[in-house]
Each structure stands twice: as C-alpha cells, then as structure tokens.
Amino acid sequence: MMDAHPDSDLVIDARGLVNQFGSHRVHDDLDFQLRRGRVMALVGGSGSGKTVLLHTLIMLRQATAGQLHLFGVDIQTADEATRQSLRERIGVLFQGGALFTSLTVLENVLMPIKEHGRFDPQWLNELGMSKILLAGLPADSADKYPMELSGGMVKRAALARALALDPELLVLDEPTSGLDPIGAAAFDDLIHTLSESLGLTVLQVTHDLDSIWRGVDEVAFLARKKVLAIGTAVELAARDEPELAAYFRGTRSEAYWAAAMRKAQDDGAPVAPHIIGTQA
C-alpha cells in the first residue's frame, strides 16, 4: 500500500495532473513539485485554478487524471486509512479561517488533537495554549469565540489549529489577505520562524506582493492551465513569458522589481535567469 517513491525529499510531487469540471478544463498536464523545508508561494491570476490545485493537493478533491505523491506515497492507490494518516501530516489554514463558530479558540485548537492525537489529557489545555501562544495570540483569546475575534486574530487562531498536530506540511490559502500591512508582515515573519524551528514545509496561495517578493523561498506561477514556472520572484520576473512579465514587472510589482535590479547591480551580479523546474 505504501509504495516507496524514488525521491522522498519531495513533499508534494504532482505529474500530469488534470482537473476538469464538465467540459471546462482547469488544469491540463500540470507538473508541480515542492521540496521538504521550502516555503513556497502559489500565485496566478484570478480563476487560474489556484484553489482547485490546493484542494487537489490536500485531498479534498480527486484529480480527473494524473499522478500525485504526497510524502512519497501515491495517493491514487492509497487506501482510506493511509490517506487519513497523510491528512494528519498536513495542516491547512482556509481562507476565511473556517474556525468552528460554536467552539472557543482553545476548543478549536484541541479538536484535532483530541480526535487524532494520543496526548495526556491532563496536559491537553497546556498544549492547546502553547499552540495559541505560538501563533502569536494573547493568552486571554483562548476563551473567546470566533465571532469575538478580529480578522487578524481569526487567521492566527486558524494557524494555531493548523499547527495542532505538528504537521510536516502547512498549506495556507491567502493567509495575509484582509490583514493590514503591519499585521501581514508580522504574519509572514511568524510563518518563517515556525517553518525554520518546526522544520515545516509551507505552501501558500497568496496575492500579497510583499510575501511573494520577500516572504518566500520560491514562487510557483499558475497560468495556461499549468505551473508555468517555479523560481524566486526575481527569477520569474526576468523571464519573457507575457504572463510572468505582466505579473512580476507590471505596475504593482514595479517597485519590487526595480529594488531587485538595484540590489543586483550593487552586488555586481547579473540577475541570473537560472530557473528551477521550467515548464514553458
């Protein structure tokens, strides 16, 4: 049931993925790889199928065709028990937080631990509190209900819940949308700190240019029903494809691009269009 995959360093390895709704093909022969320990942003225009891809990768929907390995396990041939154990290794932060509204923040965080963990009941509250504090929430928010929280706190509470079982892969759907710039930067920093100290692999869908240019190790760009390119924002900006040029050198990205160019000049190195995993 657990057929070993040649490259176990890949947390996500999707090959030839097809997603189709009726006659509308969202992804066509899509390849996508994510290495252990990387923080990756998944970007693309609205309607390019980011959320569908995310849902496929976290096993919320079955791809129409193609191969998907998670942690080296082929999920098409895996039985339900294996899939369930894989799910426990993935923490998900949904776009709106998706906190259970009838539970307090602490109860939200403890839910997955009580369901799937085997942890000393006397220490449970302490453990839940540690996740809440880890996510950067004040201690007194533990007893609050989701409706009593601000937007930024909802995101942090959802992050605390996503971290509950010490996942190896953290999947974030627009984690900084709806946050003020200061809050968003703090959230980016938090993700980075956590990914370093917990050894997390992070995949985040985002439109936040700050995150894309400064907050992540690499960027996967979704267009033409495929992952068009994977690389750093600077690398993707240096490419010729019109979609990439528009996204990374367009009006909104101009300042970031200019800053990257200046920095490259100061360093005396050319902006190396050395791109990892090109699939033009």
Binding site: T101, E126, M129, S130, L133
Partner: protein, 378 residues
Amino acid sequence: MTSAMHASRLDHAPPQADWSSDPEFAVLTLTGTWTVHSLQHVPILHVPTTQTIRILSQISAFDSAAAMVLARWLRQWRAAGITVDVSQMPERERTLLELLDARLVDTVPERTRRTSLLAVIGESAVRQWDEARQFLGFLGELIWRGVPLVLTFWRIRWSVVIAEVEAAGVRALGIVGLLSFMIGMVMAYQGGATLSNYGANILIVNLVGIITLREMGPLLAAIIVAGRTGSSYTAQLGTMRITEEIDALRALGVPPFEILVFPKVIALVVTLPLLSLFADLMGLLGGAVVANYGYGVSFAVYFDRIPDVITVTTLWLGLIKAPVFAIVIALIGCMQGLRVRGSASEVGRATTVSVVQAIFMVIVIDAVFSVLYNLMGY
C-alpha cells in the same frame, strides 16, 4: 509511563525520563518517542534537590508538544532556583524548546462559568423578560411601520408577498389537508364509539363539525405553519445576519423590515385563514368518511345536516383566530432570526426557540379566545 503494550502496537518506544545523579548535578535522560501521538502519559517527575539539572536527550522523535512539556518543566525548575543545562541536547530539539519557552506564559486562563442554580434561574428569567419585551417592541414596530405601508399599499413588495404565499400556503396544502383529514377521522371514530351506544350516530356531524370549525382546523393549520414556515423564516433571517446580508440591505438603504419582515407578515395573514378553511373542509371530509363507513351515516345525510348544525358564526369564530396566529408566528420567526449573533449553531438554536415559542403562543392565544368567546356567550 506509557504501557508497553500500547507502545508496541504503535510501533514506537514509550517516552521516558530517568534521573541519574552526578556529584555536581542531576542528569535527566530522555528516551523513547516524544510526540503528540505518544505522550499519552506525561512522566511525573520529582524535583531533585541539586542546584543544577542537565538534560540529555536520546529521543527518537520530538515535536512541539514534547517541547511544550519540557518548557513547562524548565519553568518550574527555574522558579525553584535551579539552573537547567540544555547544551547537550541536539540543536533541533533545543531550538524548538527555546521557541516554546519564549512563548509560553505562566498562567493558563480558566473560563469562568457560573453554574449555581440561582444564577441559572436568574439568567433564564432575565432572558425571558428580555424576549417578551423584544416581542412587544417588534409588534410595535410592525404597527408603526406597517400601518403607513398598508395605507400606501402599492408600495408593498407584492412579488415578494406572492412568493411567500406560495411557499407558506400552496406548498403546505398537502400536509395540512392530509393531517386535517386524519384528525377528522379520529374525532369521528372516538365520538362515534360513544354516540352509537345511545343510537345517536347522527350527532357525529355536530361533534366533528363544531370541533373542527371552531378549534381543530385553525389550530392544526397554525401549528403546521409554525413548524414549517416560522422555522424557515428564522433560519433564513439568521443566516442572512451571519453573512451580513441584513447589514448590506441597511447600507443600501433598503429597510430590512420592509423587504423581509413585512411581506412575510402579510403573506401569512393572507395564507393562514385560507389554510384554516382548507383544514376545516378536509376535517369534515375525514369525519364524513368514518361516519359513512363506520357508523351508517351516509354522505348525503352527513352533508345535508351540516348547514343545520353549523352556522356561519361557527365558521367565523374559528377563522377569525387565524390572522392573529399568523401575525404571532411571522413575528416570532422573524424576531428570532434577526436576533442571531455570530455562529452557525446560533441559527439552529434560534430556529428551535422560534418553533417552540410560536406553537406555545398559538395555543395560549387559542385558550384566550375560548375564554373570550365563553364570556361573550358564543
């Protein structure tokens, strides 16, 4: 310590913490698997009397749950004035421990819950009083805003009203008809069993006719509508509150009362009397079937006798209650919906409250009508 049996089933060694002493410091050696899946019994440690503790780790798996436990211990020891040396731990474990240690706070807040009986009674009394006041307020708003709307009836949103009439009335015909028919049958059976002993089978018509028209028809229709339509009003408005649709209407300058509440009230005031009339007819029909096949009162005799025992007044005494029921059901349904705050479970709770209150009020009002009719000599 973890039971060995369970650990072997999970295929990992139990978490263990063992002291060994050294002249200068106590050494705590950690072995086994330390994760959220294996720490089902956190080891209980006695605190050594030495000035320094050194932690050695031979742990095979270590996650932030384990780091949390260690960080707690560290805090306790430091509070007791003991120096803790973690320098011998692997770097990854140390980083994790430091991260947790830096973030933990010393007090875990406890949710304060008042559970004394007196507090519960008091709270519920205050809540009931609040609800009663709100209902009166809502009734006042209906009159305050409703009367001008009725006077300028062309401004009423008739398309909404008609859609509500269809949902609350036309679609309820089947269930109201079937239940009334069966209640009519039941009454005829129960009455017939006694009346036939006296050879007074023909009086089944009086029995079924009067009870159905004065009580059963309107009451049954109202209870079904309260369960079917009142609950849907609450669920709809409650969900609209959570999704901020009500706020959006206000922001767009469309008063929610005008577009949501008032059409529903009008629709029920129109629908419920008609449904009651239909329930009356079906109840009489149910009685007729039993009278014909069970007690030898033929259809011809049954329907021939109806005008003699039932006057138009009897019909009106029943039907006049229907609009009152309608207003109460619609108002409670809408009020409970608009009161919803926040969570999905609140919508469920509000819907339950709405149905219970509406049926309760319908029966109370019915009783009040009976007393009034009695005083008036009907």
